[in-house]
């Protein structure tokens, strides 16, 4: 949902984005079902989905803007605000929580001087929670960029942030 009153304008998708969306569009029954994949494609190129990008995708798929926003805000991996170079999603579902995801969160936040949802001052990292990553047997877990990290502890976090 849009929080500011400023008028956003629709911008165009790039030829490459259009090509990539067109390549998968026929895998789906209707355009509404393409929504998530189309957003993924565009986000891959732009790192996050701005209001105007969202409008461009909605126009391209000819689906309602509100509907696309509904999909975008439901999906944990679609970013509707600018994010850092790497997004760290720490899992806060039940197993990770039992095995210390709160410490993981605290440590991450303390190291980067941010709160969950924020980006470090150098623009390197954004910290966000996520639901179960399917790695309960090796909890606590996190998604760092698109890499799954398991058996986390504060040392492991320091190691990740060193890179």
């Amino acid at each position: 949902m849009k929080q500011t009153a400023e008028k956003s304008t629709s911008e165009d998708l790039t030829a490459l984005e259009i090509q990539e969306i067109n390549a998968i569009i026929n895998h789906y029954e209707d355009h509404t079902s393409v929504a998530i994949e189309a957003l993924n494609i565009v986000q891959k190129h732009r790192r996050w989905i701005s209001d105007s990008t969202l409008k461009a995708v909605a126009d391209f798929l000819q689906i309602s803007l509100a509907h696309l926003e509904s999909v975008a805000t439901f999906d944990n991996l679609i970013y509707r605000q600018p994010v850092g170079n790497t997004v760290i999603h720490y899992c806060n579902s039940v197993t990770c929580w039992m095995l210390g995801s709160e410490q993981i969160r605290e440590h991450l936040c303390q190291r980067l001087h941010v709160e969950p949802g924020e980006t470090s001052a150098d623009g390197q990292y954004t910290i966000l929670p996520i639901v179960c990553l399917g790695a309960c047997h090796r909890a606590p877990a996190a998604l760092v960029g698109d890499e799954l990290k398991i058996d986390l502890n504060t040392d492991a976090i320091d190691e990740i942030l060193k890179r």
């Binding site: 949902m1 849009k2 929080q3 009153a5 029954e29 209707d30 309602s64 803007l65 509100a66 509907h67 926003e69 509904s70 805000t73 439901f74 944990n76 639901v131």
Partner: protein, 899 residues
């Protein structure tokens, strides 16, 4: 039937429904939020938990959601088991953790489903002390307030808005504990049915903004059963009053007509009653007069008259029209409708009476399994009907779900999924795009002549004895065959047409198609212009042109006009001439308009909220409305003005008029049974208009007089302007509001229905005047297609939900949502005329006199050449009438400054 056991009691109930609905139908109290009888089950709120036992031996049972559990034989459940009660209590406590507990400032308070359920579950103590998440609210336009913090995430709003009403600008955003129901950005809700959110939402998230502007608690509102006067469907409404001001409209359930829902015109159009345009006093030659003087003057005018003619109105009641007809005499009574429309209405009434085809209620419309709409944009001409048609579009998938997959219709999500595979065949033939195009399998566009010809072709393909139409081109021909085949196969095919095109041929073609259908369950319905168009048509009378002629030729000198602004009916010059030639002009109406301005004697009429009367809707159903509150002393109901001047009449009361009217017209015999008469009593007392908690009666008028005035008396209806009286077992036609102990919200309706979502006990209100009988010969007036002359356009004045109806237009909220002022044109025409989208043009009549300037919008859906589509009745387009021929020229701002 299934034999089931609930808390040790045995019941015999229909199999296959869900347990929640069944329990409610049995009169049991079980809390719920997300389930809605019209929308089925979602299983989203977890409020309807009960215990289900495997068998007689099972003592523990397991927790299930009643709304998701089907009724099967030998089902054994408990509503009262402590475990289930505990779960429901805890569930509501959790739903309430983020709720702001702001009932005292919430418009929902006092009629809130959430309050009722909280109370019912016994969650009386707030334990949560944590932070609450909060949301920003949006400006959703003039109709609806938004207060998202009150949301309990039941998803009823989006399910209604997206799935039931088919609009997609209201959505749910976010995930888990942080979901938001709103629009992408601020802006008016686009659906024509947005007002239903007020009643669908179980909390105070969506409330009525027009009501907020002069808010009163439900228990302080005075109410009476009423009928919407803003289109021909006659939806049942409960208007509420306080301090002599009409405060709001809510839905009044009628299982046959509007069910649970109204359109936004009907819900928000009421404010005209409070408008500054109301005529507050009688006026003689433009000067205020008192009632007595006005009555005497009226009498004198009539005595002085050589011959008086009366002009009736399709927006006045049967009784008022009948009183006028009786006053002036049958031959001097004119229907007040211009001749084309008059002809259309005569044909429609002939078809409904003698056509031998069922005229369906909206409930029946929802059962159709194939449908063709011929010539109507139903959302704009008969809004609530469009909502029913949208439900009909789901029938084939519901049937498929049940037969092939054994999924019951109330399993909402599952059935919606099946919809992607199969939908009811819906076809729309219309002038341009319509708001139902998204449910159409195919559409056909053309001018009314083309539509009629297309219809005649379908009829002929269905039954070769029907007259043959003019040849169609290959594509059209194929489509006509497809439609004929789909309709032929259907078990319950439905044809929808109406008067929007002002084309007799369209209506006749619709009849031919319906007549050609083999199914015994075929149905045909028409959308008509006004709330009593059919009633007036059944009273015959002559058309307006004949009244003009009578005055013009000096056959009459005095005119009495009943609730009718003639300037909306005929061209200005004609009306001017008519009104000026008449030596004495009496006008009875409620709002000032160009016709009332001309009156020698102007008599202020009570609005629908302050008077009583019978209307006949498009289905042929007679329904009565009752005064919600008394009109101010200086205002009378139209029928009272008329009756008051009839010498030696034995008629004293409204009921006398109803009875006499029923006797005068065989078609209307049944109108006396529409509702019990004024002498009806419930256990010896009148029915109170005020709830038993009505407050402040002694103090209401203390600013004027500290002594409490007596309650006004009502000798015309079974109702009292009072809280005293008897509310138990009131017949449906007389039910002002629904309330039941523990059920302050509108959900109390469950207690008044035979089964949830079904008919009201003792039968839904209203009497159908016609049942299937007779048959008519094939109509064979196949029109020659209209060939446009280059440079000449034909005006198509088409209905719009906000803008075309006279009274609602005077309500500020509706005025804010007025249709955009523009004229639509087909792309080819525009290209030839050198007009671009958004160009300003000057429209002139054929004599060259310029009428108005407007913006042109190019519409690719307009396929016929030479049509210029505008909003009918729109104040900006007063000078243009349906079917008028006009020329256009581009407005050049440089050369025409000041023109």
């Amino acid at each position: 039937m299934a034999r089931i056991q609930i808390d040790g009691q045995f019941y015999s109930v229909p199999e296959g429904n869900n347990v929640l609905s069944t329990c409610l139908s049995l009169g049991l109290d079980l809390p719920y939020f997300c389930w809605h009888p019209a929308m089925g089950s979602a299983g989203a709120c977890r409020q309807c938990a009960i215990i289900q036992y495997k068998d007689e031996e099972d003592t523990r049972g397991r927790l299930v959601m009643a709304c998701m559990t089907p009724v099967t034989d030998n089902l054994r459940i408990s509503l009262n088991a402590e475990q289930a009660r505990q779960f429901r209590r805890d569930n509501i406590e959790l739903l309430m953790t983020n709720h702001p507990h702001d009932c005292p400032v919430c418009e929902e308070g006092g009629e809130c489903h959430l309050q009722d359920m909280t109370h019912m579950t016994g969650h009386n103590l707030r334990r949560y002390r944590g932070r609450k998440r909060t949301h920003n609210n949006q400006n959703l336009g003039p109709f609806i307030n938004h207060e998202m913090n009150r949301c309990i995430a039941c998803y009823r709003c989006t399910r209604f808005y997206n799935e039931y009403a088919g609009c997609d600008d209201l959505q749910v955003f976010g995930i888990h504990n942080n979901v938001y129901f709103g629009r992408f950005e601020d802006g008016a809700l686009e659906s024509e049915f947005s007002g239903n959110l007020v009643e669908v939402c179980p909390t105070g998230v969506f409330t009525d903004k027009t009501f907020s502007a002069h808010f009163t608690r439900k228990w302080d509102l005075q109410t009476a059963p009423s009928i919407c006067v803003h289109c021909s469907l006659g939806c049942n409404i409960s208007p509420g009053e306080r301090y002599g001001e009409l405060r709001r409209i809510v839905n009044r359930y009628n299982g046959d007509v509007n069910g649970y829902f109204l359109c936004d015109r009907g819900r928000f159009g009421y404010d005209f009653v409070n408008s500054s345009k109301r005529i507050q006093h009688p006026r003689i030659k433009q000067r205020n007069a008192c009632i007595q003087t006005a009555k005497e003057h009226f009498h004198q005018l009539l005595t002085r008259a050589k011959r008086t003619i009366g002009i009736g109105s399709p927006r006045a009641t049967l009784e008022a029209n009948f009183a006028l007809r009786s006053l002036v005499g049958e031959t001097n009574f004119f229907s007040g409708i211009e001749d084309t429309e008059y002809q259309l209405l005569q044909t429609v009434s002939q078809i409904i009476r003698d056509g031998g085809i069922h005229s369906p209620s909206m409930r029946e419309v929802e059962q159709a399994d194939a449908l063709l709409i011929l010539g109507e944009d139903v959302t704009h001409s008969a809004p609530r009907l469009a909502l029913s048609l949208r439900q009909a579009a789901r029938n084939v998938s519901i049937e498929l779900a049940a037969s092939a997959l054994h999924v019951p219709s109330w399993q909402n999500a599952a059935v919606r999924e099946i919809e992607k595979q199969a939908l009811t065949p819906v076809f729309i033939a219309s002038i341009g795009r319509t708001r139902l195009d998204d449910i159409a399998l195919d559409t056909y566009h053309g001018s009314p002549d083309y539509l009629a010809n297309f219809g005649f072709a379908i009829a002929h393909y269905l039954d070769s004895s029907a007259p043959e139409a003019n040849a169609l081109d290959a594509d059209e021909n194929k489509l006509a065959h497809t439609i004929a085949a789909a309709l032929k196969q259907a078990k319950r095919p439905l044809i929808v047409s109406g008067t929007s095109c002002s084309s007799l041929a369209v209506i006749q073609a619709a009849y031919n198609i319906a007549k050609a259908l083999p199914s015994p369950n075929r149905q045909l319905t028409f959308s008509l212009p006004e709330c009593n168009s059919l009633g007036l048509a059944l009273m015959a009378g002559n058309d307006l042109q004949q009244a003009f002629t009578a005055i013009e030729q000096g056959q009459a000198d005095t005119v009495v006009i009943l609730e009718n602004d003639l300037y909306r009916r005929a061209e200005k010059q004609k009306v001017d001439a008519f009104l000026e030639t008449a030596e004495q002009l009496v006008v009875i109406d409620s709002l000032k308009n160009p016709t009332t301005e001309k009156a020698d004697l102007l008599l202020p009429a009570a609005s629908f909220a302050e008077s009583e009367g019978t209307l006949v809707n498009n289905e042929g159903r007679a329904q009565r409305y009752f005064p919600v509150y008394p009109a101010p002393d200086s205002i009378c109901a139209s029928w009272q003005w008329l009756l008051g001047t009839m010498e030696n009449s034995s008629w004293q009361h409204h009921d006398d008029l109803t009875t006499a009217c029923a006797q005068a017209f065989p078609d209307l015999t049944a109108i006396t049974q529409v509702a019990p008469g004024a002498d009806y009593r419930v256990k010896g007392s009148k029915i109170p208009r005020q709830p038993h908690r009505y407050s402040g009666r002694t103090a209401l008028h203390a600013n004027i007089d500290v002594s409490e005035p007596g309650q006004p008396t009502d000798s015309e209806t079974p109702f009292a302007y009072s809280m005293e009286g008897n509310m138990a077992q009131v017949p449906p036609a007389l039910l002002p509001v629904v309330w039941s102990p523990g059920w302050d919200s509108n959900q109390a309706i469950n207690k008044f229905q035979e089964e949830t979502g079904g008919h009201l006990r003792e039968g839904d209100a209203g009497i159908r005047l016609f049942e299937v009988s007779g048959t008519l010969a094939w109509f064979n007036g196949i029109p020659k297609p209209y060939i446009s002359e280059p440079g000449v356009w034909e005006v198509m004045a088409l209905p719009h939900i906000f803008g075309s109806e006279e009274l609602s237009l005077q309500s500020p909220a509706i005025a804010q949502r007025l249709a955009t002022v523009c004229a639509l044109m087909n792309p080819l025409d525009a290209e030839q005329a050198g007009i671009d989208n958004g160009d300003c043009v000057i429209i002139s009549d054929l004599s060259g006199a310029s009428l108005l300037t407007t913006v042109i919008q190019i519409d690719t859906n307009l396929s016929s050449a030479g049509l210029l589509c505008i909003t009918a009745g729109h104040p900006k387009f007063q000078a243009l009438k349906m079917g008028m021929q006009v020329t256009l020229r581009k407005f050049n701002s440089d050369s025409e400054v000041g023109s």
